[in-house]
């Protein structure tokens, strides 16, 4: 049901953009106003979100240590899994952000003969997550060709590598296929694994369908319908140079694609997608395990009521003396 609601929402969004352009001639709304609004929303609210997180301190040094601590010099220290300095944290975070280290640990509970537990390999979530995020990034980089007068070498390289299979005309981008497949897998697993379905919210399905919609409209334009790339680039350049124009000859499918992207941008700061920024701030990962070496200061540390030794001795002086324990006051 939640998946259906999400799916229909994305369909409706797509239909609004398509109809708005095809029947309402609202190119300026969907091609200029909404993109600007979406980007502004994204930037402002994403910054606000990060500042909000940042405004709460890390009162304690609470890394989750996933390896041997740095202790005695002859015991092999796990520098990346239990970092003892900034360099180690940088390494740990690089593994986390680029290779999803923690997700790579994933295991699947299995039961044998009814009562014997075992933990099997479970790399599919990791693989799909990697495939999805990396494809998305490469596709984003490829799209920079629309926003730069002279296409940067890095973008050309990304395009070249991405299409090295040399299939079809126009050349097939591997990431297009991988992205759609990965997102579809993530959707399938969300509805297919009972526990995951049970925890899923509309806000878990919606971004999947949204990204699927963006991918499908993009693929349709590149491989199946004709899109006037030159005009699209003109329009994109107009947007980034704050001199927007609506060139002729761009079909409603493009505006649909663009509108779904705008939706993603605007939705992003209010959704779980903020994990993109949050992962860099997670105290269990970004703090080094140094609390024994260097005092970590809690900005709101305040004095508390304690039961002092004096009070304790007052309570037990007679018993202490009888047991032969030294006392401060006779």
């Amino acid at each position: 049901m939640k998946a259906i609601i999400s799916f229909i929402t994305v369909l409706v969004l797509a239909a609004i953009a398509y109809a708005g352009v095809a029947m309402g001639n609202m190119q300026f709304l969907f091609g200029v106003i909404i993109p600007y609004l979406a980007v502004v929303t994204f930037v402002i609210f994403m910054i606000a979100r990060i500042l909000k997180w940042g405004s709460s301190p890390n009162p304690f040094r609470i890394p989750t240590t996933c390896g041997q601590q740095k202790s005695l010099p002859w015991i092999k220290h796990s520098k990346l899994e239990n970092p003892s300095n900034l360099l180690g944290v940088a390494g740990r975070m690089a593994l986390e952000v680029f290779f999803f280290r923690s997700l790579f640990r994933n295991l699947k509970l299995q039961t044998h003969k009814g009562t014997q537990l075992a933990y099997g390999e479970a790399k599919w979530l990791w693989a799909a997550g990697m495939a999805f995020h990396w494809s998305f990034l490469i596709i984003l980089i490829r799209h920079l060709r629309f926003f730069t007068e002279k296409v940067p070498a890095a973008v050309k390289m990304a395009e070249g590598l991405d299409s090295f299979l040399q299939i079809g005309t126009p050349l097939l981008y591997i990431t297009d296929v991988v992205l759609l497949a990965a997102v579809f897998y993530l959707f399938l697993r969300r509805i297919g694994i009972p526990q995951v379905r049970y925890i899923s919210l509309i806000s878990d399905y919606f971004p999947l369908f949204l990204i699927l919609g963006i991918g499908v409209t993009g693929v349709l334009m590149r491989y199946f319908t004709k899109t006037d790339i030159v005009s699209v680039k003109m329009m994109a350049m107009g947007l980034v140079s704050f001199n927007p124009s609506i060139p002729q000859g761009i079909g409603p499918l493009f505006y649909t694609h663009l509108f779904l992207i705008c939706t993603l941008f605007a939705y992003f700061p209010f959704s779980k997608l903020v994990h993109m920024g949050g992962v860099f701030m997670s105290p269990t990962r970004v703090l080094a395990n140094t609390s024994r070496v260097k005092r970590h200061v809690n900005p709101w540390n305040y004095p508390v009521h304690v039961h002092t030794y004096e009070e304790y001795e007052n309570d037990f002086r007679a018993k202490m003396k009888e047991a032969g324990l030294p006392v401060e006051k006779e």
Binding site: K52, S71, L107, V196, F270, N301, Y312
Partner: protein, 539 residues
Amino acid sequence: MAKLPKPEELAKIDYTLPKTEWLDTPVVFKEGMFCHGSKPKSLELVGFPNPRDWRPADADWKLPADWKEILLKGIAERLEKYRSFRLFMDICVRCGACADKCHFFIGTGDPKNMPVLRAELIRSVYRKEFTLAGKLFGRMAGARELTVDVLKEWWYYFYQCTECRRCSVFCPYGIDQAEITMIGRELLNLLGLNIEWIAGPVSNCYMKGNHLGLEPHTIVGNLEYMLDDIETVTGKRIKPTFNRKGAEILFVTPSGDLFADPGTYTCMGYLMLFEELGLDYTWSTYASEGGNFGFFTSNEMAKRLNSKIYAEAKRLGVKWILGGECGHMWRVLSQYMDTWNGPADFLEVPKSPITGTVFENAKSMKMVHVAEFTADLIKNNKLKLDPKRNDHLRVTWHDSCNTSRGMGMLDEPRYVLKNVVNHFYEMPEDTIREKTFCCGSGTGLNASEDMDLRMKGGFPRANAVKFVADHHGVNMLANVCAIDRATLKALMDYWVPSVGVCGLHELVANALVMTGEKERTTDLRGEPLPSAQVKEEKA
């Protein structure tokens, strides 16, 4: 109390999900799955709010009239205070990687024991009250109203989490359910919704210095019994000192070690080791608790209890502090103590008087774990060890949650272990080190009325022990945690009765050849040594 089902029945775990969505599935309090409510006296002694007689199974929890405002204010305050809390409320993508990592989910099959869903219990309220999407779209955005039923659900499930952090190892963003449970319990404590098994020890510890409420003369008396036993085994009379000013080292260990076996054997181990080293150290009856049940109620209470350790070190004028074998004690010490009650600038950087090793890793907080201390001794050949005395034992190692995931002390105890026993077998790799499974009874859940919960939560641990018991004939589960020593015994008796439980320093002391000792014929438990048996047979 309901009778505990047979292991064969408990092992049949039903993972089928309720037909209704979790938001529409009301919490049902099952007997054996929760602890008694806190008694008014325990709360009053430390000044916790809303002390009263109440029972968790009752419909009326005798909440203050403005309970909802108190809670919402409490949430708002903690969002400001803890980045962890604020972040973890926002960034979960519900990928489900944490789900089958939780020992309580594995053991109960209850979906609300998946860490993600346990967090959603509180996130749903956060969305409703603190996010735009939740306010606008309500249920559609996964938001819900805070009601008494929601509160009861929090209570039931935040006391079905042992803050073991295993989920946070697997979470791609490091979301740590322990943080959420800690804050959840702190919120519940604003309304006096504690359990007596935690509240009692907390008030004991505050007034008497330790969880068990052992008064000074009882501590001395309990140690005397152990000294008698040591004399029987070794022929040596040891005379430890208490509250002695001017000692070089203050020794602090969980009070569980002073009270019941097998913890007492570990305690005998410390006494024998320190005697053999001629260590200039003292016990304290005031700081007679290394553990910290305050940590399971609120940050403030934990700090109040913890303050005694540095205060006592200062009063006695020691140079540094040595800490006994414990799990959560060491998460508190290593990640919180210096921040709360430091700087301990009146102490010196810990230096082993025996080897001269300076413990640079404890440079600021000035406290060393006894496993680190002993590993250094063995590495420097300062101990005469006869591991054959432990040959009747086939040992496996249980990494405690907190020393593993809140510190990273993994190889020090293993090094010690390998030097004091000849038969050591690791459990399967996905159940040890940073992936170790909880005993199922941590964070103050080691009561007797929640035995169903404990046996279910401990099932994954027990299952891994059973594996090495079946494959390698393992008969002893060693660890560095006082709660483990108390709880794993019950767990083993239930699931793997052929396996005993012991602390690391019990094994060290068994193997330790002391100067001037008589020929040992038994181990610390009074059981005949294998070598003695051989001699008997020959004779």
